[in-house]
Symmetry: C2
Subunit: 293 residues, 2 copies
């Protein structure tokens, strides 16, 4: 790591805990510390001994893709995933083609950043549309077009089933089963699925679905379901342990399915965002250890 | 009907359209006109030629169960369902027993009101609980205990799968498949399922699930999914045609499965509740005809 711990300086900041075997699979999705720019988020992970980071395109673009790649690499961090491609449901052909091109760019960015996982939030229904089946078909068509290009770049499209509450406006893929079925026509190394506890915890078939997903599982993300939902349902995700999700059970299912990759903590929550980032990182590590492992 | 249209009076109010064959299956769930007390809601249905009403226990209790039964009967209305029994997920045994007793009372009320359908909102997770499987098991146990009593009263328990966004705090039954599986051990006339478009529209397996439900379908309820969700997600339901649900497709599935009962319009929405009830009834009839039939 490039981060310098000033020799002999008082330990005002947490000391690095790199090498703590309990944290070997932990990744901090940078959305969890949304106020930090990329260098600050990378620095936070390095100082806290969090070995991987999940990146978002907007802050990466703001800092520059190549610079971001070097920054993360020099810090010794893995990039567990890049969020996000997708939004492939446009009915209007020029808009659909524009989405394909945007996703090709996202694939190139993922490759440059050194991650093999591009998280795909597939998109909701066009304004006024009631054609859910049609939207799902357009996503399948787009994946078929993008998968060979992704594979050529060493990148895997990771289809993210989203909570059904987001079906209309964010992601028409709603279950692990459905995502696996959409991935199935493609080579396992080019199209996988994301298992995000927040999106799938309610599913009465999730254990069987995760078992069947097997080596299609490209990413495992964790955050908790807390009630009541906030006014902005996008910001309702809680710190592990604050809500109703049994993380250890879901991690067991994912592990048993053969997944051994990073476990990304991704929390969209106004209170978490307002907190001190060092405190958030410390809480993430503590809760990851007590609730997920 | 007991409602008197003053002979020769100017047609300030809508004229009854009783007998309009297009409305023969239409039921107005009284929650759609939440500000009206029971006599006013019954009067509204009668004047608008809406042949059935879905009742809620609270306003029925406020008016008196026997009086309510006579009021509805004298108005010539069918009672399509009584909402609601359920809330059967308590871990605490005395609370669980209390819920059983409350449901026995609800069954007796349904019988007295002349409906064979008691809608069951099964309940969410107890505070702090992460044991979703356990909560679902307690619901199954409670249904097994209640079903014979319901059958003895000529009442069918109609298990309502709720949108997964309500899984933690309202209903741990999340899909039609899951509700049918829970109903399956019991005679078809004593335990059925509710298909509510709002709760199930997103489900990629809903067509197959409804077909498999067959004569388990005890109730079909309609309202639309509108975005963005309001701050109180309980009040996010829209008038048919205002959102993303393809009602005709879902009605076709339910019809093809053999359901020929009432189609209940149930809308929880602050704007609808603030509107003039006669306007709401007129809109319900118009949208029912244009969007659902």
């Amino acid at each position: 790591m490039e981060y310098d711990v000033p020799t002999g300086a008082p330990a005002a900041a947490p000391t690095p805990a790199a090498g703590d075997p309990r944290l070997s699979r932990l990744s901090l999705n940078q959305k969890t510390v949304d106020r930090l720019d990329l260098p600050a988020a990378v620095d936070l992970c390095a100082r806290h001994g969090i070995p991987a980071i999940g990146l978002w395109r907007e802050p990466v673009t703001a800092y520059g893709v190549r610079r971001s790649a070097k920054l993360v690499r020099d810090a010794g961090l893995r990039v567990s995933s890049l969020c996000r491609g997708g939004f492939l449901t446009a009915e209007d052909l020029p808009l659909f083609r524009a989405a394909i091109h945007a996703n090709q760019r996202a694939i190139l960015e993922a490759a440059e950043l050194g991650t093999d996982t591009l998280v795909m939030v597939v998109g909701g229904l066009p304004a006024g549309s009631r054609d859910l089946a049609g939207a799902r078909e357009r996503v399948a068509d787009a994946i078929a077009e993008l998968a060979p290009f992704a594979a050529s770049q060493g990148v895997r499209l990771a289809l993210e089933p989203m909570h059904p509450m987001f079906c209309a406006d964010r992601g028409v893929l709603s279950t692990v089963d459905e995502a696996v079925a959409m991935a199935a026509p493609h080579p396992v190394e080019s199209v996988g699925v994301v298992v995000d506890t927040y999106h799938v915890w309610w599913d009465p078939t999730v254990a069987a679905a995760i078992a069947a997903a097997g080596d299609r599982i490209a990413s495992f993300q964790v955050c908790d379901w807390v009630v009541p939902l906030p006014a902005d349902t996008l910001l309702g995700r809680g710190m592990m342990g604050d809500g109703h999700i049994d993380f250890r059970a879901l991690r067991g299912m994912v592990d048993d399915a053969g997944y051994s990759g990073d476990i990304e903590v991704e929390i969209f929550n106004a209170d978490v965002w307002a907190a001190d980032a060092d405190e958030t990182a410390a809480t993430v590590k503590r809760r990851y250890t007590s609730e997920v492992l």
